[in-house]
């Protein structure tokens, strides 16, 4: 497949790291201010399939040990291609170029950092044409909806500048579109059954405003994956009729979940941790857990190594959450979902969140409404539920309004039926008298079993002979 490439190309080179001493040259990275890579969807007539252009010096003309500016422009066309997929396809640059032995690609967009190893350079990997050829081959093989692909490498700093500025604008526009895209805007959601290989009853629904629980698959990723392999583990779900706008219930999602879970999951409320919450697999990034005492949610991420405010750690609660079940009040979530405006919106969103670790709170600060940010307690503020209660009251957290409504909590504890009860049970045994005062023997279950009579002794030398 890559006969003309002097080095190996394969998945196993993906994790390869090239240290400074081993590198021949470097492109982008921290010492270069302007660098980028971008994928653009073009009209078919505008590009020539397979053409590779290099603007500026090629690798062979570069000085060993130096850092160079870089721009990578990948232009593609195809009748099924959409502009919305540019970002997803762009990330494949990272994946594919890393397959090349001795070629390390880090990060994405305006942040790329590439190194070529001395070894691979010596083996003859000396031109971007070779890199381009590999990319061309892999893009077309793996993403058959790309009909034409044209790749341009720019190493001339002056030529990079205008393209870099343009690229920044495109990234920004793309992000704005992704942020602005709502579940109402689209007619198709995506389902992911990858986790079913380990959690057979889990069904993940991916919408523009609800990332997959693992945090690895966005709606755009889903769209691309389902487009590439419609029979694959990531599939389109026609969202159908909206049955409940607030809770996020859709007829198409229900039908799909029913089918994929074999009836285990009949309804899904996309934006709620109650009623019919989205199922949780095993690899969710965080948990939203209900704290009944304060009628609010705590949030904890996988990396938090302490107990949360309810006295339980992530692991313990994860055990109650996982396994592809719909568990009310224990909700597996991704960090990206926490950035969504639909985040548990049916339950009150962040107005219902009462506790989260400081690190998490800071991480998602821009996404928490300012009005409630200071009212959410962290492990630095409170350690216990009573302390949390006080904190919420003193900070006038919105959940405290809920408390007013319902104060009559029925405190009946499940009582066990006494099996045997008497004021005094005096016991006389072997000259000692024991009195059990107000004794009450309770049992969760009383089993009355007929006592098995002993088997008569077997064999010829048994009882019969004696009698």
């Amino acid at each position: 497949m890559f006969e003309n490439i002097p080095v190996e190309v394969g998945l196993l080179h993906e994790g390869e790291r090239i240290r400074k001493n081993d590198m021949h040259v470097e492109f982008g990275g921290p010492s270069i201010s302007e660098k980028f890579e971008i994928v653009r969807v073009r009209e078919g007539n505008d590009i020539t399939d397979g053409s590779i252009h290099i603007i500026g010096p090629d690798i062979s003309a570069m000085e060993e040990g130096k850092s160079y500016p870089i721009g990578i422009l990948v232009e593609i066309s195809g009748s099924k291609l959409e502009k919305d997929l540019e970002g997803v396809i762009e990330r494949r640059i990272h994946e594919y170029t890393n397959y090349i032995e001795g070629f390390m690609h880090l990060n994405q967009r305006y942040d790329i950092w590439i190194r070529l190893s001395k070894k691979s350079f010596k083996k003859g990997l000396t031109s971007f044409t070779q890199i381009g050829n590999v990319m061309h081959e892999l893009f077309k093989n793996e993403l058959p909806f790309i009909e034409k692909i044209q790749i341009t490498f720019i190493t001339d700093a002056e030529k990079i500048h205008p393209l870099y500025t343009e690229a920044l604008g495109i990234y920004e526009a793309r992000d704005a579109r992704a942020r602005g895209l709502t579940d109402e805007d689209v007619d198709t959601f995506y389902g992911c059954a990858l986790c079913q290989s380990f959690a057979p009853t889990h069904v993940c629904v991916i919408t523009p405003q609800r990332y997959a629980n693992c945090g690895a698959i966005s709606w755009f990723d889903g769209r691309a994956a389902a487009g590439i392999d419609p029979k694959g583990p990531i599939y389109a779900i026609k969202k159908g009729e909206c049955l409940d706008t607030e809770k996020g219930e859709y007829s198409g999602v229900n039908e799909s979940a029913m089918k994929r879970s074999m009836g285990e999951v009949k309804r899904v409320h996309l934006y709620s941790a109650f009623g019919y919450p989205h199922t949780s697999c095993g690899c969710f990034e965080g948990i939203a857990f209900y704290i009944p005492e304060v009628e609010g949610f705590g949030i904890v991420l996988r990396g938090f190594r302490d107990v949360t405010v309810n006295g339980l750690g992530f692991s313990t609660m994860a055990d109650s959450t996982a396994g592809g079940r719909q568990v009310e009040g224990f909700h597996g979530i991704s960090i990206e979902y926490m950035r969504s405006r639909k985040f548990m919106s049916a339950d009150g969103g962040y107005d219902r969140v009462v506790w989260m670790p400081l690190e998490t709170k800071e991480k998602i600060k821009p996404y928490i409404p300012e009005s409630v940010y200071e009212k959410i307690a962290t492990e630095k503020d409170v350690r216990t539920i009573p302390e949390l209660k006080e904190y919420l009251i003193s900070h006038q957290h919105p959940v405290t309004q809920l408390w007013e409504v319902d104060k009559s909590l029925d405190k009946t504890t499940a009582s066990q039926m006494p099996v045997f009860s008497a004021g005094d049970i005096p016991i006389t045994a072997g000259g000692v008298r024991i009195i059990l005062k107000n004794a009450r023997i309770t049992a969760e279950k009383v089993i009355i079993q007929p006592v098995k009579p002993h088997q008569p002794r077997g064999g010829d030398h048994g009882d019969t002979k004696r009698s």
């Binding site: 892999l138 583990p233 009836g263 055990d319 079940r325 049970i425």
Partner: protein, 786 residues
């Protein structure tokens, strides 16, 4: 009368009169009083008996039919014998070759499992005496919720305190008695039933190991599932021989921890060197990272003969039977500390330390049995401090000139080579040495397993092993490495983290390098394999002597595997779980995957979990230097969970392999739990027990055996990539069975598309669905669609 025993409470009342009732001869027996805090309902098979899981075993054995390799084709176990069992002959008792081979395997597995269980029992008894039965179990603080996966799975109990393990060991001991009795003449005669019991012994072994390691982690403050457990020194070169040196050998750590405590409390830690060989060494670095590991078991002779140790303390398992003589040769007192290994020494347990130390220092005794670890701590340290200055290092190793003189005695009879388990060209090297060229002997050092059989065989009484070690003296001085101390269990959190990468095909599998050091080509190969799989972003686990060997090699930059790769359970991590008994954390991690992702109940639910692990978790064990009976039972415990094990060439001496037949399509059908249909799941994992002849063959096989029928296409693609790539590099060309391992177009690794598609076309390959695989018809799901 009230009788309170550990496992039951009996209340007997002769006469009971009350207002409401009269009782006579009332007897109340309560089996056990436990605080029930675990809400999970009991599964179908708590405390399984010899036959409870037989049908599961037979399912596996139907696929992986035992392929017998009689290491000995006679049976000499009763007075009818010796019976020749070759050529379909039956023994005097009627036993066949197949049954006799598996009977011997069962015997070995019983020995192995008993050894771990007995070790666990001694350790637990000691730790309970010292810390109380209420001492809480803690293997990983908040990051571990499932504290004892094997105990939960097999016994159906959730241990909270050390005391809770007593009944677990009671169960193990009962089962082991039952199992051993099966090997008596005139019991089981069917080979598959023997094999099923081998699996049972293996399962018990893992429970015993789990108890031992959890007990010592909890009570002795070992690292608790810590990916960043500190690094410890490893190798002869790290020892400051000017200081008094104590050597500990074996597996039971309390005497070693007492030695360390004695030094610490007297602020003597920097005044002496505490060094160790084998698992006690590993475990004492978990206690104090200042202790030093010399090497795996194969380093016993070479280290003792170096004359460096001033006092040798042995506990149990894998200790050379001639250790007393070897110690006497270098004038180092020997302290035996275990009732299981008394070495014929006088029992000084009840003598005062002053007297014992004085007797050692004066040379009145050369060894003593002391069955009290605290006393061992004091005696060993005081003796070492007192004796070291007097005892110049009694080197047994010949000088260069002496070596050549000794080599000249060689008559070239080649008996040394015939005695050598690895057929090393010893006689050539000795011959060259006689002519002044010792490079051949020096080269042998790396491959030598240190058994010393060459010496016993030499009619000229040349100390062959010593001259090999002497020739490599420079090398031994350079043995200076770093090893990550055993971290214990895998965190639940870590398992959650790798869930995504596993299904997304970013992690090809989990490979565990375990077991002894009977390597065909020395430690280096284990280190190389570990690094190669870590580089390929597998999750690599190590334990026991293999964990030590993995650290005894440096890359071009002078770094050992543990310094290059992180100690976390993630892609490209090298996770040293600890000593032999820590192996339970590796099987435990596989079990936890079922609980964590699918939330399958563990409690007394062995079969379902094994079915899950077998069909879904791409784990493989490698025991490259497997030597002991313990290695046999450890492997058996993995098999019953459906985890394949690859052994080195000496592994064929375990008498049989468990091999699948990828050419027989009918062998590879599974139920699709979604539809209930029996569908072709593909020949994965192809074998359950496989001996590889070379490192290269082993690596290719490992890559293949990580495949499971549930693999997502991305997962299968990465596994195929590694399998094909390793095959091309190490064996040459495309493997012959690619078409059997590709299920769908999407399984094909994209960088190998052309080559593979060509093969698929030639083989008239057709696509087949990826099932939700299970071997158990009861796991077929009932659709609730309505």
């Amino acid at each position: 009368m009230v009788e309170l025993r550990r496992d039951s409470v009996n209340v007997k009342i002769k006469e009971l009169n009350s207002d409401i009732a009269h009782f006579r001869d009332l007897s109340i027996t309560i089996g056990a009083i436990t605080k029930e805090t675990w809400v999970e309902p009991m599964g179908p098979t708590p405390y399984p008996s010899l036959t409870t899981l037989r049908s599961w075993d037979l399912k596996l054995l139907e696929r992986y039919k035992p392929f017998y390799l009689p290491f000995c084709d006679l049976c000499c176990m009763c007075t009818y014998g010796k019976c020749d069992l070759t050529g379909n002959k039956l023994g005097a008792c009627g036993i066949s070759m197949a049954a006799q081979q598996s009977r011997t395997v069962l015997l070995a597995a019983c020995i192995g499992a008993s050894t771990h269980t007995a070790h666990a029992r001694d350790l637990l008894t000691h730790l309970i005496e010292r810390y109380g039965e209420d001492h809480p179990i803690n293997v990983g603080e908040l990051n571990v919720d499932i504290e004892a996966p094997l105990t939960r799975l097999v016994c159906g109990i959730k241990p909270v305190n050390l005391g809770d393990f007593e009944e677990v060991l009671d169960y193990c001991e009962k089962q082991l008695t039952q199992l051993l009795s099966v090997t008596h003449t005139g019991q089981e005669g069917n080979n598959l039933d023997f094999e099923s019991k081998v699996f049972h012994a293996g399962m018990i072994d893992h429970v015993g190991m789990e108890v031992a390691d959890i007990a010592q982690i909890s009570a002795l403050g070992f690292p608790k599932s810590d990916p960043e457990a500190s690094l410890a020194d490893l190798g002869l070169g790290t020892v400051d021989i000017k200081k008094p040196v104590i050597l500990v050998i074996g597996h039971n750590v309390p005497p070693a921890t007492e030695i360390i405590d004695y030094l610490k409390t007297r602020d003597l830690m920097s005044e002496a060197e505490v060094t160790g060989i084998c698992c006690t060494a590993l475990d004492m670095t978990r206690y104090s990272a200042k202790a030093k590991i010399i090497g795996p078991i194969s380093w016993q002779l070479r280290y003792v003969r170096s004359g460096v140790p001033d006092v040798i303390v042995i506990d149990e398992q894998c200790i050379r039977a001639d250790i007393l003589q070897e110690a006497q040769h270098i004038h180092a007192p020997l302290i035996a500390t275990s009732g299981k290994n008394c070495c014929g020494l006088p029992d000084r347990t009840h003598d005062v330390p002053d007297e014992i130390v004085a007797d050692f220092v004066s040379g009145k005794i050369t060894g003593a049995l002391i069955l009290d670890p605290v006393k061992v701590g004091e005696v060993a340290v005081r003796t070492a401090l007192a004796i070291a200055p007097k005892r110049e290092k009694h080197k047994l190793l010949p000088t260069h000139d002496e070596l050549i003189k000794l080599a000249k005695k060689c008559t070239g009879c080649v008996l040394c080579r015939r005695a050598c388990p690895n057929d090393l060209p010893i006689s050539y090297a000795v011959k060259a040495a006689a002519q002044g060229n010792i490079s051949g002997l020096d080269e042998l050092y790396d491959d030598c397993v240190g058994c010393g059989r060459c010496e016993s065989a030499c009619p000229q009484k040349i100390p062959v092993h010593s001259i090999i070690v002497a020739a490599a003296e420079k090398k031994t001085r350079d043995e200076s490495y770093r090893i990550r101390t055993g971290r214990g269990a895998i965190q639940d959190i870590e398992i959650r983290k790798v869930g995504g990468p596993l299904v997304l095909g970013e992690i090809p599998g989990i490979v565990a390098f375990v077991g002894c050091a009977n390597f065909p080509k020395g430690s280096r190969e284990v280190a190389e394999m570990c690094m190669e799989f870590a580089k390929r972003r597998y999750i690599v686990c190590t334990s026991g002597c293999s964990a030590i060997s993995a650290g005894m090699y440096r890359n071009e930059e002078g770094k050992t595997a543990y310094e290059i790769y992180p100690g976390s359970f993630e892609a490209g991590g090298i996770v040293n779980v600890g000593s032999c008994v820590s192996n339970a954390h590796i099987s435990g991690a596989a079990i936890k995957i079922a609980s964590i992702f699918a939330r399958r109940p563990l409690r007394g639910n062995y079969e379902e979990i094994a079915d899950y692990v077998y069909n879904r978790v791409g784990a493989v064990g490698v025991a490259w230097g497997a030597m002991s009976q313990k290695a046999a039972s450890i492997a058996a415990g993995f098999w019953r969970l459906g985890i394949p094990v690859v052994v080195g060439p000496h592994g064929t001496k375990y008498r049989r392999m468990l091999l699948g037949r990828s050419d027989k399509e009918q062998d590879w059908y599974v139920y699709d739990a979604r539809t209930g249909e029996k569908v072709y799941g593909g020949p994965v994992p192809e074998h359950l027990f496989f001996a590889a002849e070379t490192k290269e063959e082993a690596m290719v096989m490992v890559a293949k055996l990580t495949m499971r029928p549930n693999d997502t296409s991305k997962g299968r693609a990465i596994k195929l990539t590694n399998y094909i790539d390793l095959h091309k590099r190490l064996i040459g060309g495309m493997p012959h069975d690619v078409h059997l391992l590709v299920r769908k177009q999407a399984d094909i690794p994209l960088t190998m598309k052309e080559d593979i598609e060509k093969i698929l076309k030639e083989m008239e390959w057709t696509e087949h669905e990826i099932p939700d695989p299970t071997l158990l018809s009861r796991m077929i799901r009932k659709s609730k669609e309505a």
